[in-house]
């Protein structure tokens, strides 16, 4: 299996919205490689004709009826928000769509 590079870690951190400082980068790369090497062993096993398991229960078709339930109050909705503005959840400047 391929090793994960500094570039990979930077890319993946970006995808996950994490800032990794330069001084931490090497350590993370090393640690991730150790784990990945071990995890990559799954490619040693033959899985031809094996279906992947996404769900452990064998259930299908679980639905709910289209019935309206009482909503929470605006107060409760905004209760835990670090910053609100005029009954909306505040978001700092959006620079892209």
């Amino acid at each position: 299996m391929e090793e994960i590079s500094k570039k990979d870690v930077k890319h993946v951190a970006k995808l996950a919205e994490l800032d990794i400082r330069e001084d931490e980068l090497d350590k993370f790369v090393d640690q991730l490689n150790i784990v990945l090497k071990h995890a990559g062993r799954i490619n040693e096993i033959d899985t031809t004709d094996v279906e992947p398991t996404s769900h452990v229960t064998n259930m299908v078709n679980i639905f709910r009826d289209d019935i309206v339930k009482k909503c929470i109050s605006k107060k409760d909705a905004l209760l835990n928000s670090p910053k609100t503005i005029e009954d909306l959840f505040e978001v700092p400047l959006i620079t892209e769509e």
Partner: protein, 502 residues
Amino acid sequence: MVKERLYKLSAKELSDLISKREISSYETVKDIAERIEEVETIVKSYITTNIYKAIAAARKIDKFIYGKKRIRGGKFIYKTKKIEPLTGIPIAVKDNITTKGIHTTCGSNILGNYKPIYDATVINKIKESNMILTGKTNMDEFAMGSSTENSSFWTTHNPWNLSNVPGGSSGGSAAAVAVGETPLALGTDTGGSIRQPAALCGVVGLKPTYGLVSRFGLIAFASSLDQIGPITRNVQDCALLLNIIAGHDSLDSTSVFKDKEDYTKYLKEDISGLKIGIIKELMGEGISNYVKGAVYKAIDIFSSLGASCEEISLPSLKFALSAYYIIAPAEASSNLARYDGIRYGLRAKKVKSFRSMYRKTRSQGFGNEVKRRIMLGTYALSRGYYEAYYLQAQKVRTLIINDFKKVFKKFDVLVSPTTPSVAFKIGEKFEDPLTMYLSDICTIPINLAGIPAISIPCGLKNNLPIGLQIIAPHFEEGLLIKTAYNFEKKFNFKLKPLFKKF
């Protein structure tokens, strides 16, 4: 009058006394509160205690228990005829289960001062059963860890040896039960997080079949693996608590429709004729000799009780750890994407744009282990790597499920050690992720298969507990209870971190 300190009693013993009206719920909670005061600064099981509210709740329940009404002839009788099991009994809950209005942290900084606006379904069930919440227990951040050292608050200390870890990620719950800070606790298990700390703390921990207990209100780590389960002093308490938390929930699409069972009925049965398989792959390299020794002794006990024991093999087990460390981080990387500082939790200050707010908030709020797993998971799902990692891991999962299915055709239950060794020293494995991950090799395959398993104490090494794991097929928690109870009676393990030192 009861002479012993109430914290030393099991939940069943307390429940019997309460329903006979020999003690009150208030007295029980008061004694637990005192115990917490005695040992909490040393053990540090809790993140948040709920004592004042607990005492108020206890008084309310006592009104219900002791409320009298007048009948003909000028006599008084109690209004409540039957007092259900566990009424008025204290319980501690791991801090990744939402409790309305009570600070919930998941062991992380990123949730800030979050107070959930709803109760988890299991909390509703606990409230309906008139149990009393003592507080929220310490855990590895977002349940990622096997020692509770990854908590962003503090490390919980193993009551058997304070320099050692209690295990994780439900370390707080296990330690609290072991030291008497609560008779009952709820933990969660994704790769062993109930069973492993239960083993290291000398208590009983059960991971139910996936889907038996509702996940609504369980703050997700890995959605296809997580389950809530009991951590208790003994098997009987475990059965009582399981009775309350199990059951279908329409708010959880993965919760199964199953007829309600009374798990305490299995306490009466014996295990003669039970066919037990010993997992070869978990009794070899990587397991300490003294652990193997304890497990073999346990097998002798099973044989003496009429069970037949035989070695079995689950060949795909050697890939279980690898598959788990792809699947769990992958799901976690997605589950943890909601922590962005907008609707709740920590929010980084002095940010110029929403992207920088996301990055700063998440980088400040998450610890290193969480960051590692998020990156690992993101990588495993990313373009170009999905097939080789995530998809392949899901296929390996199928193989593991099939291995268990095959073996359960011939055997009723399986046994193995719960952990490769007893509790290690605090700091010993902390900086070494892979070594830490390897402590889960016995427990992880069970989560991948979605089957139930229980850990019960089966010995000591240097006064540190050794855990035995019993595994059953889907929805056969009854078999676990039966097997574990019979062993427990014969083995007679003394839960002794309650020593004079405290």
